[in-house]
């Protein structure tokens, strides 16, 4: 696909997690409900706007997590560190910097570049025995 499409924001519905920690073997559940568009940018000049779109999405996600964190009841406030970890992952260079570089170097859209970053991280973790 080599066409420019309009981008929009999509709201995804998930399953709320319960408070507390579970230690065990993680199982990857990929129900393929999230479908992304794989798009090439038509012009290298579009990379700048695409990177801005990606960074804006990160900011927006952080804002949403902070809103959830601030609204947590006292009963579950002690578990808010889980969301701190999520905030750190959003800021992590392995996600943010890698995705920005991929958009710039491969001239692809943010979703595709982010998927590549996440796949790379997943591969790294899968190599751990």
């Amino acid at each position: 696909m080599n066409t420019r499409q309009s981008f929009d924001t999509r709201r995804l519905q998930g399953i709320p997690v319960s408070p507390g920690i579970i230690i065990g073997k993680a199982r990857l559940v990929d129900r393929s409900r999230i479908q992304i568009n794989y798009l090439y940018l038509n012009d290298p000049k579009e990379a700048k706007a695409e990177i801005k779109r990606f960074k804006d999405a990160l900011k927006s996600t952080k804002k949403q997590i902070l809103t959830i964190q601030n609204g947590m009841s006292e009963q579950i406030k002690e578990h808010s560190f889980i969301l701190d970890t999520h905030l750190m992952i959003i800021d992590d260079k392995m996600i943010s910097e890698t995705t920005v570089k991929t958009i710039r170097n491969e001239l692809i859209n943010a979703e595709w570049a982010l998927k590549k970053s996440v796949d790379e991280i997943r591969n790294t973790f899968e190599k751990i025995n």
Partner: protein, 90 residues
């Protein structure tokens, strides 16, 4: 200024997400850079995902390197964090 120190993971759960998050919080408090080295692999101490890829269980040893103007203060706080088992008590 650059400092290097071998640190042992002594908490029961090892270097898991919460412990790694505390390290990143600490690293972000200072201007100096923090790097961990284990089995020849070097990772950025300000990246939680990078730290987790080291997969350090209890008893593992990793090398920490701090570089910068406040490298000594960062290293001292890091040593304390490891010695206090990341605040986990056991």
């Amino acid at each position: 200024m650059a400092l290097t120190k071998k640190l042992k993971i002594t908490n029961d759960l090892g270097l898991h997400g919460r412990a790694a998050a505390k390290i990143v919080s600490l690293a972000n408090r200072y201007g100096s850079d923090l790097v961990f080295i284990k089995d020849g692999v070097e990772v950025d101490g300000s990246s939680i995902l990078s730290i987790l890829t080291l997969a350090c269980p209890r008893g593992a040893e990793i090398e920490a390197r701090t570089t910068g103007e406040d490298a000594d203060v960062l290293m001292n706080d890091l040593i304390e964090l490891f010695e206090k088992k990341f605040g986990e008590g056991k």
